[in-house]
Symmetry: C2
């Protein structure tokens, strides 16, 4: 992170502290307004073509002991971040949770609480969690294909690696902070992105040389993708102008993976314009694919059915394509994994399935 | 894999097929003997200082329809492996499971079944799953420190990378096959190995520069380590003569992670001499560490308690150290994560905890 970015972050966090101080000083009970963070309160933002929080608010104040403790925790988090910026450290969310053991009444009751408060602080400060130097436990998504990344490493040294020639078959591991100050991306021969849900399928495309044959850039999503992975994909799309396709299992949870890449996730809707790639296209597995490609299936569980139904009332899934695919899946009561394509042999996905789907979308001609 | 290795594998698999053919030809009901694969049947092998299967056997035969189907599946697996060797492919265990959709009566009923049968085939053939070109869904363990790896990549090209200078902060991703034919390891300044359970702690040691300050080689275990990670650690120990230490959470599941690195896992006891590093030392978190370092804890769940009790009857945990630590944990009814050390600050683990523990063991002087 540049010093400039540090300074902005520190200044904005100071303002929050000052505001609480001023309210106390004037004899007021300190309070903070935050958007309501649920499916009910997300709205389409036509400027960026992503879903963001709407106008519904919650008020957080110190009228109760619990409310006061929450405010105290906010101040401790700010202090913790300030120390990290000073000492050039970063921390996992879990480490911050444990560090709060020494914060007295400011101790978190669970890691869910500390994670959520870090996001709340993003909203209030208009900074990013990456500015706060907080990162998830693990992400480790990988990329393979012809682009070149120059990243500042832990020693502050710039390191340039080509993601096709200079990495092992396991790929280039995406770091937790992929901001421009840390990571520069240079185009190569890669013409489009295939973001892949599972490691098994990522490795299949790598082994089959799909990236080289079709000039594809393969990005491993690793399930529900980390913020850094989504941000990285957005930068590939915006800066390198690479079309993005998303290849997942065929079940309601995978549809949400696509939604979080393309439209923005509900939890991070305050920064959807920053993380989401609205032009990303879904290349399956859909209910229609299950039929067309005669795939082995599993029965939908009760949880799957409930999740699909919930998606029908999710504004992000309101278009014709999704409504019809979700209803088709509910009707057939079946789901399929992307690796189920192996039924037809190990080359089927790269020789037939992907070329067909990508041609249909116009990504391949 | 070299052609020689291919030939041995094909020859041994052919022998199995022949034996079934011959039995049928002579009017016998085909049968196969396998060691019993459970805790009851593991014995200490003093030659290698690891735990291996004992003499208890199960007989697999075709006297029932189910038994005949199992034998058929074995033959299909052999056929599938033969095709992969011919076409220079590998496959995830999950892909093989799905590929069996086309095997008629040979179709697997679950992936547990197909995984187990691949291991059974290792035992009967005395080959390795890596020879069969079968790999787990995902492992992605990482390594950082001064050693140099030359690996044959998917295009058959040798690629040499230093694990300190030529990789991003996310490290070098260990491939699924780390056999000598594929991967050569050259020593550098690294003097010992710290194998770390969680990604958060691995990243902490990397950020704090523990590897450079202490000439350590950091290996991410990623929970229960994949075979390739265990084999890689063994090679570091045998070929580079690096002492191995294992740093995990303090709970019964993490004790099993250590046991699988040091003594061999029950599931893979037929190849313990190949995967286990008997001289590996545990550097916590132990019950004693929880007290000595005043760590935040969680209550043991009923499952944790049952797992600890089961370890007391596990021959691998029979020595004084483990019995006393397991009993201490049962008495305090508490467990702790390695990241709990962050209670004392982000540098505590590298400034105090690890130097103390490693000095105690004699790894650091």
């Amino acid at each position: 992170m540049t010093n400039e970015r540090h300074d902005i972050t520190k200044e904005r966090l100071s303002k929050i502290t000052e505001s609480i101080y001023d309210q106390l000083n004037e004899g007021e009970i300190p309070a903070m307004n935050l958007p309501l963070r649920s499916k009910k309160n997300i709205e389409f933002d036509p400027r960026y073509n992503v879903w963001k929080y709407g106008s519904m608010q919650t008020n957080r104040n110190c009228k109760t002991a619990k409310g006061a403790a929450t405010m105290l925790k906010t101040l401790y988090i700010i202090d913790f971040i300030d120390l990290m910026i000073k000492t050039n450290k970063s921390s996992t969310l879990r480490e911050m949770y444990y560090n709060s053991e020494g914060w007295g009444y400011g101790k978190f009751s669970s890691q869910d609480e500390s994670n959520m408060m870090a996001e709340d602080l993003e909203i209030v400060s208009k900074c990013m969690r990456e500015d706060f130097k907080l990162r998830p436990e693990e992400d480790g998504a990988r990329v393979i294909g012809d682009i070149t990344i120059t990243a500042v490493n832990r020693k502050g040294v710039k390191q340039t690696l080509n993601c096709r020639d200079d990495v092992p078959d396991t790929g280039y591991g995406i770091p937790f902070n992929v901001e421009k100050e840390k990571v520069a991306i240079k185009p190569g021969t890669a013409k489009f992105v295939v973001a892949v849900e599972t490691g098994g399928m990522f490795d299949r495309l790598v082994e089959n040389g799909f990236d080289e044959k079709y000039n594809a850039l393969l990005v491993h999503l690793k399930g529900q993708p980390a913020r850094s992975t989504r941000r990285f994909i957005k930068r590939l799309n915006e800066e390198l102008r690479l079309p993005v396709t998303v290849f997942t299992d065929g079940d309601p949870w995978s549809f949400r993976i696509f939604a979080s890449v393309a439209y923005g996730a509900i939890k991070t809707a305050h920064i959807s314009d920053y993380l989401a790639t609205p032009t990303a296209q879904f290349i399956g597995i859909t209910a229609t694919d299950i039929l067309n490609y005669d795939l082995p299936t599993d029965k939908l569980s009760d949880k799957d059915i409930a999740a699909l139904k919930s998606e029908l009332s999710d504004p992000r899934f309101k278009d014709e394509f999704w409504v019809s695919e979700i209803e088709a899946m509910l009707a057939m009561k079946k789901k399929a994994e992307q690796q189920a394509l192996a039924k037809h042999g190990l080359d089927y996905v790269t020789d037939k399935y992907l070329p067909e789907k990508l041609t249909e979308l116009g990504t391949l001609r």
